[in-house]
């Protein structure tokens, strides 16, 4: 069976800076694949390119075998790709419920239907279950991360892109967020998980990709990548 997501020689440029160079990897349906690498390696650029938030300079991105390289973000979301951005990026001046409803923006414009769905989604996240009417900007870091993931789920994605969900969180909260990620995977959501620190990601992932200075240097099952000497090198730099 073809993989759910496939990158073929994807390059991304920010002006003159080449942030990704000919990156190729794939994500199997029903798995968690982690994308790890040092700060500035190009992890966010990769998932943002998959989500359609930054343009690809060359190469192809295939989703369910279909070329989505040139599609706008809204079309990709409608097809089943959703992203929880690095730094959570919740809408701080709107309520938790409003944030969730906006997550379903491409799917429906019917407010009462969306509100019902947002409340159902909220009930699945104990961290924020009773915070529906609170302004999202006043939530704690862990709650904001839970909201970011819940918002990304509102579009009912087949592929969920999570960019550093543990960023800036206390260990106890990281465990809670990772429990959520594990639960989502158990329910069949395919996840591409970006982390700077591999230890957490390895606990839940089946496959791992390692980025180094915008290039993919290592990929395979977690059990193999974990013990590969090149992994340490990716973090220590050349």
């Amino acid at each position: 069976m073809a993989p759910l997501l496939q990158l073929e020689n994807v390059s991304v440029k920010y002006g003159a800076i080449e942030a990704l160079r000919e990156v190729s990897f794939s994500v199997e349906e029903g798995s968690i694949t982690c994308l790890i690498g040092a700060n500035g390696a190009g992890k966010s650029t990769t998932v943002n390119a998959i989500a359609g938030l930054v343009p690809t300079a060359s190469g192809r991105i295939l989703f369910q075998g279909e070329d989505i390289t040139k599609l706008p973000a809204s079309r990709r979301i409608a097809m089943g790709i959703s992203i929880a951005l690095e730094g959570r990026k919740i809408f701080g001046d709107q309520t938790v419920i409003d944030n969730l409803m906006l997550g379903a923006y491409t799917r429906s414009k019917n407010l009462s239907k969306l509100r019902r769905e947002a409340e159902e989604m909220l009930a699945r996240f104990p961290l924020i279950a009773d915070r529906g009417q609170q302004l999202a900007g006043t939530l704690s870091g862990g709650q904001q991360q839970a909201l970011a993931i819940a918002r990304a789920l509102m579009s009912r994605p087949k592929l969920l892109l999570l960019d550093e969900p543990s960023l800036g969180l206390a260990p106890i909260l990281i465990q809670e967020i990772y429990q959520i990620i594990q639960d989502l995977a158990d329910q069949g959501t395919t996840i591409l998980l970006v982390e700077q620190f591999a230890a957490y990601a390895f606990m839940v992932s089946q496959n791992a990709c390692v980025l180094e200075h915008g290039q993919l240097t290592l990929a395979g099952p977690v059990a193999e990548v974990r013990d590969d000497p090149r992994l340490a090198r990716a973090y220590l730099g050349k």
Binding site: A51, L53, P72, A73, S74, I77, A78, I83, L85, K89, I90, F91, G92, D93, Q94, D98, M101, L102, G103, Y105, T106, K109, L111, L114, R151, S155
Partner: protein, 290 residues
């Protein structure tokens, strides 16, 4: 007399509030202030007159068509005077000059087409009503009623529709909004259309009271801006309260102190608030986002 001054003040204040809301819409989505706003007010009025006089369209059709053209001019403004500036440098403030300049161009075009004479504009309603000791023109009450309806509609649109929430989302974080599938470019266009329509309708409402001419918009830019800043940029409630404060104050000052001070009072409020409370009455203190 006090009652009449208050009614006049509230009605004019409502107009300033509409223009102030227009300032807010583009401030939300683009983080810019559109100083051509008053000229959009003038454009809607003169275009209506043009369509009525020269194309012989009946007033309702002339007005609808004029508003449509005004909205289209709003999109043109974004394309020629705002987008290039922000594309070149998102933190540039050159839009102060480019929007002001676009306004002057609009004004000069209007002078070319219409000359500098004043044109009468039809009232919605003729006659006066007696309210306690004040004889109030029905037109004034109609303007007031329409303003209230528009403000309520604006509030419903921004706060009770998904599109309104999407506008706020784009204002808050463009990339995060895009990540939800919100087309931020479309939202920006929508905000330009809203700006032009709010200004245009405000113009159509005041045209019968002030008579129409190419220079009618400039002072309205200043007063709408005062309303928006007084209330706190970005706050719709602020724009409404700011508009009412300016509107009532200028009637009272003009009526009881000196008519010559009428147009200055809004600016005096503006300077005082900028010194005492720069974020405005209802504004939130925001650190410049980089």
């Amino acid at each position: 007399m006090l009652l009449l001054f208050l009614i006049l003040g509230i009605t004019w204040g409502g107009i300033y509030a509409l223009v102030g809301l227009g300032f807010n819409t583009t401030f939300w989505t683009l983080r810019i202030l559109n100083f051509a706003q008053g000229e959009y007010l003038m454009a809607a009025v003169l275009l209506s007159i043009g369509f009525n006089r020269w194309v012989n369209l009946p007033w309702p059709i002339a007005i609808v068509l004029a508003l449509a053209v005004t909205a289209a001019l709003g999109l043109v403004l974004e394309r020629v005077a705002i987008r290039p500036v922000l594309q070149h440098d998102p933190r540039s403030h050159s839009w102060v000059v480019t929007t002001l300049g676009a306004g002057i161009v609009l004004q000069n075009l209007a002078v070319l087409l219409f000359g500098t004479s004043e044109y009468p504009f039809p009232k919605l309603m003729e006659g006066v009503v007696q309210l306690l000791d004040a004889r109030v023109e029905k037109q004034l009450l109609a303007v007031f009623a329409i303003t209230v309806v528009l403000v309520v509609l604006f509030d419903i649109f921004v706060n009770r529709t998904l599109m309104g929430k999407a506008i706020k989302a784009v204002a808050f974080d463009r990339m995060a909004a895009e990540a939800q599938g919100i087309n931020s470019r479309g939202i920006v266009m929508l905000s330009m259309i809203l700006m032009a329509l709010l200004a245009g309708i405000a113009g159509l409402l005041i045209a019968p009271m002030v008579s129409a001419h190419p220079y009618m918009g400039t002072l309205m830019t200043v007063k709408g801006f005062s309303a928006a800043v007084l209330g706190g940029l970005g706050s719709p409630v602020g724009a409404i309260v700011g508009g009412l404060v300016v509107g009532i104050a200028e009637q009272l000052v003009g009526g009881y102190i000196n008519p010559g001070l009428k147009d200055a009072i809004g600016l005096i409020f503006l300077f005082v608030i900028l010194i005492a409370r720069p974020q405005g009455l209802f504004g939130k203190k925001v650190a410049e986002r980089v």
